[in-house]
Symmetry: C2
Subunit: 141 residues, 2 copies
Amino acid sequence: MTKARKTVLEVVEQEGSPLSARQIGARIAGHDTATVYRALHYLEEKGLIDSFVLHCDRHGTERYYTTGGACHRHWFHCVECHRFIDLGECVVGDMIEKIGRQKGLAVTGHTFFATGLCADCQAAGKMPGRLPSDTCSTQTD
Amino acid sequence: MTKARKTVLEVVEQEGSPLSARQIGARIAGHDTATVYRALHYLEEKGLIDSFVLHCDRHGTERYYTTGGACHRHWFHCVECHRFIDLGECVVGDMIEKIGRQKGLAVTGHTFFATGLCADCQAAGKMPGRLPSDTCSTQTD
DNA sequence: TCAATTTTGCAAATCATTTGCAAAATACTG
DNA sequence: CAGTATTTTGCAAATGATTTGCAAAATTGA
């Protein structure tokens, strides 16, 4: 494991919540953007980190990286302060594997995250853009 | 509703499965890419269509659009033939709203989709890239 | 230690998506 | 219905995340 890769992995592990390549690069001094991306690909290939793509109006569409391996978790993204909040371990994996199997599908992965307002932003009186509908397969931010 | 917007909406509604802006543009003659994107933004703003961002190795990272409104569904994406298969109506909305509420979060949206091998590609003997682990918050394609 | 392989930095290229701007289409007013 | 105000469209250029070519630097192996 080269120094660059080790550094990237440490940043992701120490953060505790999802980070974009841009954010990771900003936490690392003296490493090129391309090196960060290549390190992230390497680490994901090795199963050491996981990732998902999320779009928010502040940061645009970016891939976010989290610690991988055994512990797969899901995340909530606040559309106001743009912080991630841990929703706990995966609760949809078994369910979707079963639904898929009934349709003859071999489900090997899934992407899931929720969006809305975190407690702080609700207290600050912020209102989400689109309140009532719980849009499935849709991000409202 | 202008002609361009109506045409885009019809394409999405008639397709029945998610389409990217690129694919929609290809199904429409004589409309600029920018017009297609603006029409999609308009239709999503009006709640007539929904969307989600998915990355696959063949098409890269793209936003896919589906019919919106009352009927929110989830999709399976085959990592081999890159077709979408309907998994049925949303089954995670209530669950995640409840989990979020316990943490003080106001969940207003979520993104969910599964990936793997469809029945046809399994029959054709294709093997998914990463077989066993059901990676949460992760796409394996 | 020297050659072979891999990784890095830099700059340029990609690719989906967005935006400025003037022309075209549509809506509104009298 | 004409005339003006508003919105939408097409085209071209800009954006921004991510990728890639290539030569230098670092690492590995003999």
